[in-house]
Symmetry: C2
Subunit: 565 residues, 2 copies
Amino acid sequence: MRWSQTFTPTLRDDPAEADAPSHRLLLRAGYVRQLTAGHYSLLPLAVRVRSKIIQIVREEMARIGAQEMLLPTMHPAEIWQRSGRWELMGQEMFRLKDRRGADLALGMTHEEIFATIAQELSSYKQLPQQWYQFQTKFRDEPRPKSGLLRVREFTMKDAYSFDIDQAGLDASFEAYHGAYVRIFERLGIPAIPVDASSGTMGGSGSTEFMCPAEIGEDLVVHSPACGYAANIQKATSRLPKPDDGPGEPAPEPFDTPGVRTIEDLATGYDASGDRQIKTLVYLLEGRLTLVLLRGDHPLNEQKLVDATGATSIRAAAPEEIQDALGALPGSLGAVGVTGHPVIADEALRGRRGMFTGANTDDVHLRGVDVDRDIPVGTWADLREVAAGEPCPRCGEPLRIERAIEVGHIFKLGDRYARALGAEVLDPDGKRVPLVMGSYGIGVERAMAAIVEAHHDDKGIVWPVAVAPFQVAVVIAQSDDAETAAAAEEIYAGLGAAGIEVIIDDRAERAGVKFRDVELTGIPFRITVGRRGLAEGMVEVTTRATGETVKVPPSEVVAHVETLLS
Amino acid sequence: MRWSQTFTPTLRDDPAEADAPSHRLLLRAGYVRQLTAGHYSLLPLAVRVRSKIIQIVREEMARIGAQEMLLPTMHPAEIWQRSGRWELMGQEMFRLKDRRGADLALGMTHEEIFATIAQELSSYKQLPQQWYQFQTKFRDEPRPKSGLLRVREFTMKDAYSFDIDQAGLDASFEAYHGAYVRIFERLGIPAIPVDASSGTMGGSGSTEFMCPAEIGEDLVVHSPACGYAANIQKATSRLPKPDDGPGEPAPEPFDTPGVRTIEDLATGYDASGDRQIKTLVYLLEGRLTLVLLRGDHPLNEQKLVDATGATSIRAAAPEEIQDALGALPGSLGAVGVTGHPVIADEALRGRRGMFTGANTDDVHLRGVDVDRDIPVGTWADLREVAAGEPCPRCGEPLRIERAIEVGHIFKLGDRYARALGAEVLDPDGKRVPLVMGSYGIGVERAMAAIVEAHHDDKGIVWPVAVAPFQVAVVIAQSDDAETAAAAEEIYAGLGAAGIEVIIDDRAERAGVKFRDVELTGIPFRITVGRRGLAEGMVEVTTRATGETVKVPPSEVVAHVETLLS
């Protein structure tokens, strides 16, 4: 390939709109252009990188026996209604009507659609089946941002496993887990598998693969000591149990004029946050529910969703709270409350001598014994852990880091198969629903994550396995016929050896060419210049290290082959 | 690959809903399944064929220097509005709104979107540029049918050329023309390039590549004698000019009670169809227009659209006609009409002594001299040719055949570049709009066209270049360990030699396996059976010919390599 003939519009300056390093560099290096918020055009170099990512994923899918398919992007509403996700997906799903007025969805994911194909499976003897595709997904993100990291349209490798039972699913899940570890390793993404919430997917468990990055929108909680790692939505910590003493015989109200916050009560009434009960009020699927946490513990809303299975959730408005409890936020509590479900965080279990609101404005209670005084209907892990808390596994301090989700694998169970009627005969001749898993990697997000993990102040530093070209041959003096001829010969030799090479044959200064090779992140640069040739040498520069060595032209191919292997 | 582990749900019987052979066979052989009308799931064998088609197209695109990109499928309405096609595309374009209420389109084609990328080109020195992608296209077909042949969602290879002038476009167009000829040859599609209408694309000319097939929805007019070929929307013929004699001094009205049709006038009044003027009334972009043809000539509506550049067209209703002309269809004519444009077919030019309606019910005129009596504003080729008419080039009788459009290439001119502001500096330093061409192949339609051209009563007969597997090894007696071991050894040997091979290791009768190999269209079958092995032989059967030869197991790889080369 000749640089003069490719369309790689590099920019001299950082684009103003770009926040994430990958966004900035992929724009500057001429890989992508935004068509409109959340929709990107991939230019030739990006398509080359994308093809390599796809090929690596495809090879690892083949290795675990997965078969590639391609299912439609546009789906009749009816299929999504059968699983209940037509409503559940809310505004995030793009919807439209055809010329006859029929309701259609653009696929955000394909559990339902693959389950319709699985309807043709008839016997446990055909199992397991592993099916996957590379297909465009559409998601109406409220805030598309960070270039390829959060978009409305992207390519996903989505895979689905079909097993006869949970043990089969566990084995399939393990196979994908292994494949994902290998994929991210080959892509050069330092991904950490973490326990995660399954969100709208449902099912019995899921693992996210997280690439640490400052720009990441997810928080990973991990213990360097033992390797424990979980998404913030799932992470726990081992809190020391406070010694509450014997407690009080009964809750006792006391006046707290003007007290509105945990902090107010703590400073004015000797009630430290860890001795308070925080009472939050939510509407879970329209039902007003009291959510209790220790005063100094924040709620993680996804944990509340996961604990209750609620598909719609919102904080109650002050007037709704006043109507239900007779007081405004600041003096709320669950003591003596009836008629509203109460869900409490595990950290409150067995606590005594606690403070909480009395459901009368400007009045609180002291001496509350949680187990005795509060009608807790559900105990659950609801609180969001904080950095420095003890690891639930090893007890060492937890760390919290920002990360990008680069893959997510789910044990789904039989929810979709039941909804879509995907059943097979088991060994006893009984019809049973298939047990499914699903497994996703966003292809263009992976590209961006690689850049987040591999760049410096000069530009992108692609790992060789995904680089658009392995080698760039730079003609230092394009106007010098002898130099150009020598460079062309090296270019031809590398191409003949099956090395992916581009020659920068533009009538530009050497400095411009060097800058573009560095910016675009091509792993090896061969500089062919007049002075070097006079010494019988060309220069081979490694992008990652900046190291340059001199090599005779006749040895370039062998030298590059060594570098690549 | 092992047949026992692939998902290839072949069917014993023809599916009732399938009309086209490709539809029937791709369903029966387990290649595709319909999700909903116009949307198909591609199963593993189909994905393999599709990949091969894509690879062939990609190689030929690379050969003419085209660069692969990938542009979004979802577009802001604003871009389509700038070219005027937001309205023009009508109901065929899927439209939707996002969560903020912004209007969006799903791409039917990408001229506008590639032109936005071309805005970054700055100089004629960067030209020509050839850009392409494989991207999903959506079209809200009024009647999806024939399996993969007419769908609402499909993969298109769409390419776009950018040149400084018409001469550049002509050269680019020729390059794609050549690439398309090679692509269809490699795919095994007997495509004929024909002159075609450009439809809503606009521009100065287009060529369609047509694959003859009984199920085809297009009509190709061609002359076997000289090679002339055109789409029915574009085809002409060389009609003999009737000798009208000197004509009459003036038109003369005469009563024609009850005459409503060309036929009525011909039989009752000695006015053969070729001496009548047929007057049709259309609304072209809302303007009532008289369209004249010879009485025995049918109108081709696309020709009317192309001749007038109208973006909306419909036949006028009887009441609209009565209002405008004072008579109902059956007695219409253009003699003395003012205030309405008149467009006439070339076959009427210079005709004398003609019959036509008098715009009074039950009255006609005779002795009409077209040039003298009718205020024709536009002369154009409007009539649809009929089989047997003389070829416009060689004069031999034309044939008309049904065909499938498998490719379409367009000289677009500067329409899109002007609308989107894609300009470069020419050698004189003047800003000029880019001159564009566009070039499309439907990938899954190509797959179906291959099947239309290559099948027999037993199933599909894939050309080797696109077959999902080159060879199937069939274990005739799966329960015989020695036979199975011999087959496995052959299978491993073929795989090691880089041959794409599947082994049918299912616990099925040999007959079932043979039938599936035939149905799925795998080019070569190697049958490993007890009896053959006893003689030291296996059988190699060629799908296309049915021919079987016996080969010693040790020579199978060499034999297959010969067959494949």
